[in-house]
Amino acid sequence: MSENVDLDVMIGGPQGGGIESSGQMALRVFMIKGYDVFGIREYHSDIIGAHSYYNVRVKAQKPRSVRLPVDALLALDAETIFTHYNDLAPESYLIYGTESLNTRIDGIAPMDHDTKERVKEDLKQKGVEPVASEVVKYLASTGVKTVGLPFKDLLKVTAERLKTTVVSVSKTVNTMSITALAAMLGIDLGAVEKSIQLYFAGRKGIVDSNVEAARTTYEYIKDNYGVSKPLPDGPHRNKVRMIATGNDIVAMAKIVGGVTLETYYPITPSQDEAFYMETHRVFDLDEEASRSLGQSKTGTLVLQAEDELAALNMAIGGALAGARVATTTSGPGLSLMNEAISFAVITETPVVISVWMRTGPSTGIATRQGQQDLLHAMFAGHGEALPKIVLASGDHLEAYYDTIKALNWAEKFQVPVIHLLDKYMAASMMSFDMEDVDPYKVPLERGKLVPNPDPKTYKRYELTDDGISPRAPLGTVQYIVSSLEHNEYGVVTEDPVIREKMSLKRLKKMETIEREIPESEKAVLYGDPDSRITIVSWGSTKGPILDAMGSLAKEGLRLRFLQIKTFLPFPTSTVKKIIESSDDVIAVENNAFGQMVMAVRMFTGLNINKRIAKLNSRSLMEQEIYNGVKKALSMKEGLVVVSDGA
């Protein structure tokens, strides 16, 4: 029965107004009820005041995306109502504060001028006054169940019960909204309380007032709307599970994967990854490691550099000394790292660069989604900065294992690895189990690292059959590392013969990488392998695509989906085989120029003539793929721009 549950709840309000914690609490409520959850946040690139919203998707098994229309909208302010009134499904819930009813759209200062004008125009068309109360009425008339919460009264009651002031409980309105939703959906108060306790763990005062607010609200709903049919328990009850953002999980993977030095310069949407590592810089070992090392904890050094040039160059220095290193950034930082990437290539230094993509060009929109750095990443660095590895993960769990693989590959092949991630993953949370993040599944490998080289014979850049040389940490034996062309000892040379050999060494190393990374790590096929309709995509579009494929399959449209995971090395043979055996191929990307399509042509010579692109900087949603695929299939060729999301 819980198998049929598929909910999408949206919570909107001013940035800094508790949207983040509302989302977090809502996610936990549903997890506690035994469901898998996926939640994503849309927010402005500022600190306080502008409109932000959280979407929470709930299913029995692994939702991977959110969708419109939603089943419930929790409007913490009037701007939310004006921004999202078109996003509600029939029969859905609108939960709002009665205090916002009098707000006129023109009175909302933070709201973007252009958005405002567009909304006014739309309301005018619909014959609705641009006042919140009128919009609510209009929604009710379309079948939406509107639930007005008298926040003032509820706060007063809460304060009274806690014997405190209204001001001191005023931050609980988001909990009230969540509780109201829970009550309407037939979720027991216990789940809400437990979620509060979990989320605010350790902060007793806050827990108490929120619990009290929840109780007050629950009663209010029961009293005014009656008791709802209870939501069945999901399949994941009584388990120890986790919920984490993409930022968190990459941080976890770096720590598990043995990073001993991470340098970074703060940038959205990467900074929380470094933050999570900082807060866990000293961490517990598992039992076996404790026993074997005779210590219970160890540490990862995380250093905030003065800029991205320093961040990567420091990481390179650390790697030269023998540390397993990584850094994290976004597009602007990647731009600044170009020179050091080329330095890592010529010095054959292992370093992992996590790149959390966002909307460009330039500063663009720092907190919004984009997949615009693919070709830039592939060709980052002057002077033919190859070989390098460019790897893109499709979701949180992939990102976890990919991070560990990236660390291994960096050391095994002695190259920089650019790991492409994005805002979609950074700002989304998903639930998972212990088996999903198995720390032992990908064994840690360090390739040709030689801890005790023989000073007599050691050659750092020895010419070998596979292009990979023995790597001794600086400090273990005397040798030179140089950004200039060098001989086998690392000493600068301008000799044309050696120069040519070193060029060919780099070419050969790329071939080794191509050969040694199995095709199955380069591209993955999902869906019906025999379908002749193929979606080709990369990165975080995976979630919406898989979810939409599920819906389409229900309608009898069975597709297959080829996810390209590595762009360097490129899965040339797989991509060729799949495209050549398809009647229809549709590319999906969050960029305007079709960068993956260009890369596919570059490596296979094959064109993909149907593209779905999302360009409005918002996260891709299930229904956009659902609709986009149908549209693409109806065309001979061309670009389908999908534009959902506010």
């Binding site: 540490g299 050094l301 420091m314 034996v477």
Partner: protein, 309 residues
């Protein structure tokens, strides 16, 4: 068996012009290392790009020839990963004070135990003689297309403002004195600068040997009571005088140790405080696995993300 300075020579041909000041710096550095008897592989000389930055090829230690402007970050990466390594940055004035000035400032905030040797020839040697950030205003050295319209920056003052805890100025042709300063810098635990006035006979036809030798004098010779040490709170009273000396340039240029502050904690000590065990198991050496097996499990290490359902 103590090491001899010849033990720090490589067999590479030294690619500098005849009489280049870099030769003096090279010799002084090799001698200082010998005097301190440092094992070759335990010293890293990290340079940027420029004539001076070729020095890693001529000293038999574990060196890195990095990018233009980036020796300081790379050096810090090495030192952070392996705090036992002796790390010396040796680079040009264009490299450290031009393209690399941001890092030159940032390292001071860390007081990380790295020695910065600034090869100060006031020109961009390797790219054929353009003005470096230490070339005085209106000087038109021989390879300039137009007179220098930018003023010189004062490296000592900049280091002081940035938080360096050891600041000295030397002269490339005075090898003994320079050697002493390098030793003193290596002994000091914290970010150190030695600004070495380095004639470039090929491109700096103004600030020549003669030009310098007419101007330079040693602080401690001129004033035997000169004491650059800040060891206790009261010593900060010395600072205005120290700054005044740092600013002195015309008609006379002081040399010597200007400032040595031992009251500021170096970075490794700071790190140890927030991450106990760092010094014993630094990033370059701590185990990351046991035979390929990771040391921890997310459900052990990251309890804050657990939800019990």
């Amino acid at each position: 068996m103590a090491r001899n300075w010849m033990d720090y020579k490589t067999d590479a041909w030294v690619q500098w012009c005849p009489a280049c000041g870099n030769f003096g710096i090279l010799t002084a550095l090799q001698r200082a290392l010998a005097e301190l008897d440092l094992p070759n592989e335990k010293v890293s000389i990290v340079s940027g790009i420029g004539c001076s930055s070729r020095i890693p090829y001529y000293i038999k230690t574990s060196n890195v020839h990095t990018l233009h402007g980036r020796p300081i970050p790379v050096a810090q990466g090495i030192k952070l990963a392996n705090p036992d390594q002796v790390v010396i940055v040796a680079s040009g004035d264009g490299d450290l004070l031009g393209i690399g000035a941001g890092h030159f400032v940032a390292i001071g905030r860390r007081n990380i135990d790295i020695k910065v040797i600034l090869h100060d020839n006031a020109v961009y040697g390797l790219t054929k003689g353009q003005a470096a950030p230490t070339l005085p205003l209106w000087f038109k050295t021989k390879a300039l297309g137009q007179p220098n319209i930018q003023s010189a920056v004062n490296p000592l003052l900049l280091a002081f403002a940035s938080g360096y805890t050891f600041i000295a100025r030397a002269y490339a042709y005075h090898i003994d004195q320079l050697k002493e300063m390098i030793e003193a810098a290596i002994r000091h635990k914290g970010t150190s600068l030695i600004d070495v006035l380095q004639p470039c006979p090929t491109y700096n036809d103004i600030m020549t040997k003669e030009w310098y030798e007419k101007r330079i004098y040693y602080l401690d010779k001129e004033d035997p009571s000169w004491n650059p040490n800040i060891e206790k709170p009261e010593d900060v009273k010395k600072i205005p005088k120290i700054v005044e000396k740092m600013m002195e340039w015309e008609p006379r240029i002081p040399l010597g140790v200007f400032y040595r502050n031992t009251m500021v904690e170096p970075l490794d000590v700071r790190i140890e405080k927030i991450m106990p065990g760092y010094l014993q198991n630094p990033p370059a050496r701590r185990s990351i696995d046991i035979g390929g097996r990771a040391l921890t499990n997310p459900f052990v290490a990251f309890k804050d993300r657990i939800v019990t359902t």
